[in-house]
Symmetry: C2
Subunit: 362 residues, 2 copies
């Protein structure tokens, strides 16, 4: 088993005692950092950056140089799997992701297959290279997180072809041809499971499923079309590697109504957005899972004193840590960090999480 200097993050996910609340930030390697923008310029584009293991390693480590973060996360995109299926991922400047070959016909849907994972070799190479870069004299600084979009979230983009306010085409397919939607989701689930297992083999020490659009589904449809397939992925994951448990995090943005059911999905931890009171969530899920979240990223636009106050409020809302109780909290934002965030404000956040949470346990 390799040595990790700071494994607080992994222990919190596994609901083991920690001296403080670990923190990382969704999109912590991103456009709010000037050094990220410099590397991205060299790469030419977002996908050029994400598919170049050397440059992906460089940006993955950038936020760790600035801040006392407790985890690194692979620099990549949630939509790599459908791209490997041949749908043709593109990012137009100033816009979100688009697929050149969105699923428009039954024949296209029936032809979907779990992709050859060799097409995602750049991801596994990046993970291996990041692990090496994190390690000095045999000791790794912090754990490395791998990830994928959830089967449902992949399906949203695969059917719609791009982001949407209402996912009209996706939901029309769901309600009009649930058989075809289930087919897409089965293929996606098997592909995502294989992809995450290969990430674990390549060096990911925790994995996260981003169910970014599960919260747009109606009660009932969420369970049938999102949660069931996240569960299928989680059930197929390798959970031990290098002699260590590999925890899995499930994050459904807007998933507050379904936390009880998500707690039985096989995930070790649930991500929650800022609409959820952490104490109430903890009462719902008990000691079945750890919780990750949930500061509103917009708090980072406020002055430092306000950031400190809001960070403390999130930590307080989780409630006290009683000796022997199997609970865990990983501090994060409830959504990716905004490109407009002043980088110095992230210092305030990270340092307040660490200092204040030590006090809560003392």
């Amino acid at each position: 088993m390799s040595t990790i200097a700071n494994d607080t993050f992994l222990r919190a996910l596994l609901r083991e005692p920690t001296a403080y609340t670990p923190v990382w930030l969704m999109r912590q390697a991103g456009r709010y950092l000037p050094e990220y923008n410099a590397t991205r310029s060299r790469a030419g584009s977002f996908l050029g950056l994400a598919t170049n293991p050397e440059l992906a390693t460089e940006v993955t480590l950038q936020p760790l140089e600035r801040y006392a973060l407790d985890a690194a996360i692979l620099f990549s995109d949630i939509l790599t799997v459908p791209d490997a299926m041949g749908l043709g991922l593109r990012f137009a400047p100033g816009e979100g992701p688009r697929f050149e070959h969105a699923l428009r016909t039954e024949a296209q849907i029936r032809a979907l297959r779990v992709p050859d994972l060799e097409r995602l070799r750049y991801v596994f190479d990046a993970l291996a290279q990041i692990r090496r870069a994190l390690t000095r004299d045999g000791v790794q600084r912090v754990p490395l997180i791998g990830f994928s979009g959830s089967p449902w979230t992949l399906a949203c983009y695969m059917v719609e072809g791009q982001g949407s306010d209402d996912w009209r085409q996706t939901k029309t397919l769901l309600y009009a041809r649930p058989d075809l939607m289930h087919h897409i989701l089965q293929v996606n689930a098997d592909a995502v499971a294989a992809y995450l297992n290969a990430q674990i083999d390549a060096g990911a020490q925790a994995v996260m499923l981003f169910d970014s659009w599960g919260g747009t589904l109606a009660d009932g449809a969420f369970q049938e079309f999102s949660l069931a397939y996240s569960r299928r992925v989680l059930g197929a994951l390798r959970r031990e590697h290098e002699g260590r448990r590999v925890p899995a995090i499930l994050f459904t943005k807007g998933g507050g109504p379904w936390l009880q059911q998500m707690a039985d999905s096989g995930a070790d931890a649930l991500g929650v957005d800022w609409t959820v009171n952490l104490g109430a969530a903890r009462a719902l899920v008990g000691s079945r899972v750890a919780l990750q979240g949930n500061l509103d990223p917009c708090v980072l636009f406020a002055p430092p004193s306000s950031i400190e106050q809001q960070v403390r409020a999130v930590l307080d809302s989780f409630g006290p840590f009683a000796a022997g109780e199997r609970v865990g909290h990983v501090f994060n934002l409830g959504h990716g960090i905004s490109q407009f965030t002043p980088p110095e404000h992230v210092h305030v956040l990270v340092d307040t999480v660490h200092a204040y949470s030590r006090g809560l346990r003392a």
Copy 2:
């Protein structure tokens, strides 16, 4: 007291027994109807239509000619109040609302005042005219609903100047200068209360507060910046008019996490979106309020058999009506009806609600 031929909607909101579940649809007078598009063409623009009492009356009644809806709703916009404050509401073609004079300075914010309600005379004239058009031989067909945006939702557009994915400027003000945000919200609440009371005087027999963006707030911030001001409006409303109770509905899109607290806001009914299980919501709010909702509007893109199935599932999820229990359910969508909805599918929805819900009570 005037006579209403079908007051099922009002009785359901007041949690009195009804023979079936009443139904109306948010944006039921809208772009999915060819006759609406014809009238709008004559008006020249959305605002031209909304500010012309004669044409607003015409489109308000159009869906009632097609479908057996249990309520009419004033044709207007949620942002009339800040427009009357002088912010200059505009609708660019193919875009959402915009304010010409968004709140950018402390001086602008300090200068905000409850507007002269004479500037909203066109709304009150429309209500009076709609009431007359709904009435024949002294008998009114169905009740008439008035509405406004909530204080928080108005503030979102007033600060941001237009719709937003993350309400960055609005939330920056909230976290950086909560004193200024509270000032805006106080003025908004007093203005909305005066506006809704004038709507009631003019003929509205129920009122609805659209808190469209309350669900974007963090737990804690929602209570302080949205719910507190909705409560202030609800507490200031005239609740009796023409010898009849005037029920008030509070709808926070994404408000599922806070239904318990919303049930004590002074509202007679809470609108809920499709992520909420109606039976679970009913268990939370008890007999304090009725519930309104919550079909995903995208269901209406599916074939009739699927629409019937999903409508029945919503009705079933509310659960049985026990004799003597003070509960109420008003069927609605969880969001406004889409412009892409096939009009004949709305027949299926309305008729299924009526037929199936009669059976549930039998």
